[in-house]
Symmetry: C2
Subunit: 283 residues, 2 copies
């Protein structure tokens, strides 16, 4: 559903300027689990709301995620040549186009969010949700996390600093994906608190299992070489806590996440499945 909608919403590759639209599409359709859109839509279901009207908003989260990958891969940043087994955007289209494609995806994400205007969503809640996404992608989340991550390179950092980086760099966007789903669905304060705690624990589990996969994962299934964190001397959970303790911590975070869904009915099953799937994930 998300992939179809993304294809429908992105400018056609033959539309001018073609290189920009092709670069945007190349990175959006280079794979990806669509985890952030799924989280938003699953949250709407947990609140027994039809999720279809939120599809453009859900797609916006994927555009923001994709823009962050394109910019992070740039030579001046992580300087990665491959992403999901394919050449990165700047390897394929050149650096200037990659910067602009990232800028365009970020900017267009706000148009997609606003596309949910009307459709039974209160404009006040829509503004609230967009505000949270902007903070989560920016000054209270992703960008701050990337800056912290870059200054931590080749340095010994503590578990607290590692948690700070992940909470901002990847955690914040998971958090707002769930919260935006709640806000748009009319969740009350108590429901939002539970959903937020679910998202924070789910995000932690995601990051720990991400680190674990970089040690024990299958390169083919991951679409990238394993051991890259160690090579870059990046601080990770396995490096700081060991593999077994990291696995235990991930399992614990998943259990915690699911416990915070107790007040929700069977509609929360998709959210529970997302959390559970992290334990056995192979990519």
């Amino acid at each position: 559903m998300v992939n179809q909608q993304l294809d429908f919403l992105l400018p056609a590759p033959e539309e001018k300027p073609q290189i920009l639209h092709q670069a945007m599409r190349y990175s959006v359709f280079a794979g990806g689990k669509r985890l952030r859109p799924v989280l938003l839509l699953a949250t709407a279901e947990a609140l027994e709301k039809a999720s279809a009207p939120f599809l453009p908003f859900a797609c916006a989260l994927e555009l923001i995620h994709t823009y962050s990958l394109i910019h992070d891969d740039l030579p001046a940043m992580d300087d990665d040549d491959l992403r999901r087994g394919l050449p990165t955007c700047h390897k394929k289209f050149g650096e200037a186009q990659a910067i602009l494609a990232g800028d365009a995806l970020l900017t267009y994400a706000f148009n997609l969010m606003i596309m949910c205007r009307g459709k039974g969503i209160s404009p006040d809640r829509l503004l609230w949700a967009i505000d949270e996404v902007a903070f989560g992608a920016g000054l209270k989340g992703m960008i701050v996390g990337q800056v912290a991550d870059m200054s931590a390179e080749n340095k010994a950092i503590s578990l607290d600093e590692l948690k700070y980086i992940h909470r901002h760099k990847t955690g914040a966007l998971f958090r707002v994906s769930v919260r935006a789903g709640g806000i748009l669905s009319g969740a009350d304060d108590d429901q939002l608190r539970h959903l937020t705690s679910y998202a924070e624990n789910m995000g932690l589990a995601f990051q720990i299992t991400d680190d674990i996969l970089d040690v024990v994962g299958d390169e083919k299934k991951l679409g990238k070489p394993v051991g890259s964190d160690e090579k870059k001397q990046k601080a990770t959970y396995p490096a700081l806590l060991g593999l077994e303790e990291s696995k235990a911590l991930a399992r614990e975070a998943v259990e915690q996440a699911i416990r915070f869904l107790d007040p929700f009915g069977p509609g929360a099953e998709p959210l529970r499945q997302v959390a559970t799937s992290l334990i056995d994930r192979e990519s």
Copy 2:
């Protein structure tokens, strides 16, 4: 007023991560005429609305303008070392921080626009205005113009192509600055049409005089070397039409712009002055 508000709204330079906030502030406070915020506020005055509640929205336009300059100056793009007489953001803070500071300014701009929530502005109109800004900065404006500008480098282009580039690269943001001021102030369709025509002519005059200044301007007042367009073999109005015809075209555009303000009262005086000031501008 705009400068004070920008200082108030941007994260403090001593707040963590300091390098990000310092890079953002460095470029925002490196000078600049604040023309886009002024256009928005002057449009509110033309419609006899108190402009103060729109100040954060006006500042958002300046953040978007600044982000576009930072990214345009990058080595992969125009590769400029100086901007307004100072080292460009990547020269001062490094390329990675410049990319991230640009990303952060663009993202934070959306938080600032949403800050106008309440304050007597209808949330529907606020969403409408934000949507127009996102399109003007992105897929229907600035980014598309930058892509077209880059593919035109070192090529002979027609006057129509030159107009296309400017209408998107710089014109679109002027246009939405005025339109957003109108939308937020509750302008009706007819008023919006007039304001839009004002903005389009004003933007054209701005671009022509910009090109003229690059030929006959004073380097000290401009804060950048003159003759750079010719050196880069960039298509400009003086190159395509000659200096005198370019000056006549600029004067004509200013007169047109002012004529479109006829239906407005004395409150439109600031908008008239902005247009008139372009004729004699020295920077």
